[in-house]
């Protein structure tokens, strides 16, 4: 046994002196080390991504639900006037004291003595001041509601909403929390009546800016962002593709085109805020376009997106095998025919992917929009791209500066909406690439 081992060892020593020393062990060690670094880097990246997503989602998912209270509202003629009056004079109806309708309804529901000032104030603090528009919309759309009593789901105030979502520490002394013991008792009563519920918060998607969290939404921001994306798509795609085709397929290769190439690459690296300053100077101060408008935002983002699209398009054009061009040219096709009938269709998936990635970048861009005044309080939907609007990331920025708890959850909620749009765009890019690449 010992003998065999010895011979074996000897034999190995013998043969290894014959073999070249190429450091096999070292090579494997280096390979293992490199693999370990790689795995470590990936784990680190994924961990941070998870932390990010978890922190956003855990804070933000509650924003998609909004507490509402079901209150029997009497649309009394005393406050609103008769339907005849209303038909004659709309202003009276517009200016009527709707919050009082809500307050009266609630104290009746809770059986509070209307003379008890403290109790009435406490109860009133449970419903949102946004009821003004909510109730007005009901009456304005149907005048026959006047004089009737209807069960209406009213937005709860953000204090009630936050309290129910567990965002306040209710164990601290009463004077150190935004919701009083009396109010907590009313909430319990309402819950017992089944008059309180957390419903899906459509308002988050449809409302505009508001100083009250419960009636604030990203509706205007989504419209503003959509306008800007359309403008970027309509301008940057054709301009970028035309520039790329010219540079790649037609322009002579000389110093001048080299210089242009270098500049385009540099342009892609210019900080976005610089584009904002450019937009302010050129589009607003010089061309006199309105501030805060989606048109200006779109133009600025177009400038920012152009280099991305040009670089992606040129790469896609270069990836088309030259033999395809020879085939077409050899048949007597002109350069233009060759490009548009053969090269461009093959480059399309690459161009589309680059465009969508450029658009996604533009969608998330904030800094240049702050400079051109899109950081405005806009409550009404913009009718045209010339009207004041905000953008999704700017809305997030503005909400992040608000102190109220209810705005914090909305900040995270809006981030989730933005991330959702970005994920959707990237999925579209992947889908298009898969779809078109099959034709190769």
């Amino acid at each position: 046994m010992t003998d065999t081992t010895a011979t074996g060892a000897e034999g190995r020593t013998h043969s290894s002196t014959n073999r070249r020393d190429i450091g096999i062990k070292k090579r494997y060690a280096a390979e293992r080390r490199f693999k370990a670094y790689g795995i470590f880097a990936i784990v680190l990246g994924v961990t941070f991504l998870c932390i990010l997503l978890w922190s956003v989602v855990s804070k933000g998912y509650t924003a998609f639900f909004q507490t509402e209270i079901q209150v029997p509202i009497t649309f009394s003629e005393e406050i609103l006037g008769t339907p005849q009056d209303a038909a004659e004079n709309e202003t009276k109806l517009l200016m009527a004291n709707y919050p009082q309708l809500a307050r009266d309804g609630l104290i009746r529901l809770l059986g509070i003595d209307p003379e008890d000032r403290q109790a009435v104030t406490a109860a009133n603090g449970l419903i949102s001041q946004g009821v003004r528009t909510e109730l007005r919309d009901i009456v304005m759309s149907d005048l026959s509601a006047i004089g009737t009593t209807q069960e209406v789901w009213l937005y709860a105030s953000s204090q009630l909403d936050s309290a129910l979502k567990g965002q306040y520490d209710l164990n601290v002394p009463e004077n150190r929390r935004p919701i009083s013991d009396l109010q907590l008792r009313y909430i319990e009563e309402l819950e017992a009546k089944g008059a309180i519920a957390q419903n899906f918060n459509w308002g988050l998607f449809t409302s505009g800016a508001s100083s009250r969290a419960e009636t604030a939404g990203v509706g205007v921001a989504i419209i503003g962002s959509a306008y800007m994306m359309l403008i970027v798509l309509a301008l940057a795609l054709p301009i970028g593709v035309a520039a790329s085709i010219y540079l790649e397929e037609f322009a002579p290769k000389n110093r001048f085109t080299d210089l242009i190439e270098v500049n385009i690459n540099n342009l892609a690296a210019v900080p976005s805020i610089v584009f904002g300053i450019l937009g302010l100077a050129v589009f607003i101060n010089w061309f006199g376009l309105p501030r805060s408008a989606a048109l200006v935002g779109g133009l600025v983002l177009t400038l920012m997106t152009l280099p991305t699209i040009i670089i992606a398009t040129r790469a896609a054009l270069r990836a088309v095998p030259p033999s395809i061009r020879w085939a077409a040219l050899g048949l007597g096709a002109s350069r233009t025919q060759t490009v548009f009938q053969h090269v461009l269709p093959l480059a399309a998936p690459g161009i589309l992917t680059g465009t969508i990635i450029g658009l996604a970048q533009a969608l998330g861009e904030t800094a240049p929009l702050l400079l051109i005044g899109m950081v405005a309080f806009v409550a009404d939907y913009p009718d045209t791209p010339l009207d004041p609007a905000t953008a999704l990331p700017v809305q997030i920025y503005m909400w992040a500066n608000e102190a109220e708890r209810a705005f914090q959850e909305r900040t995270s909620g809006a981030i989730m909406i933005l991330l959702g749009f970005l994920a959707l765009m990237n999925l579209t890019a992947i889908f298009l690439r898969r779809r078109f690449e099959r034709r190769w």
Partner: protein
């Protein structure tokens, strides 16, 4: 090697020399930037004959071929000088548009390069851009006859709407020949058309070339001397940008006068 080629030549019935000049180049030089690739080539290409261009790689065969249909125009660095005549007419004559020239002088490339489109569209593209067919029926007629002439029709007649890139290498190359034929060229240039094909596909394409010479003038670049011997009537030997020797294929292989040709045929370089 020599015996092999000799055998091929003897097998073949001797060709009656047809001496109509189809294309002619005089003192053609080509520069790529500073580098000279062709040093004054004088060569005549005869109608309805196959002219083979042979020589070691890098000697300028492809460059010369590209002169004949002005494909060198598409290479930025390339500068062509000298006279190139097609039926006695200068191909750089402003009266002869390059589009028309390329319709009359078609090209088949080294690597089969069908468009990533259907077989039908591959063949129909040329006639379409040159307006050769007025009706759909005429176009269909052209596509079918072109595929027949390229000996591909029977293999693909049931799947004309399938992608041309799905065919085998040899079929793809015949599709490219059909595509070139579809615009009714007078001359077909072929740059090592069989170098990417297996021996059986090569044999098929060689037979096809032999048939095509009834109707077309063919200039073929090849790195295989057997192939030159098998398909061509005239052979031109290029060497480092010079035309070393040109003559009847039979003569060239049995009795080369140039030392470089002898060496090349003997396989001493290349």
């Amino acid at each position: 090697m020599m015996e092999n080629i000799q055998a091929t030549l003897n097998e073949r019935a001797s060709v009656t020399p047809n001496r109509t000049i189809k294309m002619k180049t005089e003192k053609v030089t080509v520069h790529y930037g500073q580098k000279q690739a062709l040093n004054g080539i004088d060569l005549e290409v005869y109608e309805r004959q196959v002219t083979a261009l042979i020589g070691p790689s890098g000697c300028g065969k492809s460059t010369y071929l590209r002169c004949l249909n002005r494909m060198n125009d598409t290479i930025d660095a390339a500068k062509v000088a000298g006279t190139i005549l097609l039926d006695g007419e200068n191909i750089y004559d402003p009266d002869l548009d390059v589009v028309e020239l390329r319709a009359r002088v078609g090209m088949v490339f080294q690597k089969p390069n069908p468009f990533p489109k259907s077989i039908w569209e591959n063949v129909a593209y040329g006639p379409k851009i040159h307006g050769l067919a007025k009706t759909k029926d005429e176009l269909e007629e052209i596509v079918h006859t072109s595929l027949k002439k390229a000996g591909l029709y029977n293999e693909v007649k049931d799947r004309l709407d399938e992608p041309g890139t799905g065919l085998s290498g040899g079929q793809q190359q015949r599709l490219c020949i059909a595509r070139a034929i579809a615009v009714s060229p007078e001359v077909i240039l072929m740059d090592e058309p069989c170098s990417a094909l297996d021996p059986i596909a090569t044999a098929t394409v060689e037979e096809l070339i032999d048939e095509l010479k009834q109707n077309y003038t063919i200039v073929i670049v090849t790195h295989s001397m057997q192939q030159a011997a098998r398909v061509s009537q005239q052979t031109a030997m290029f060497h480092l940008g010079d035309l070393a020797e040109v003559g009847d294929t039979e003569m060239m292989f049995s009795n080369p006068s140039d030392k470089r040709t002898q060496d090349y045929i003997m396989g001493r370089f290349g």
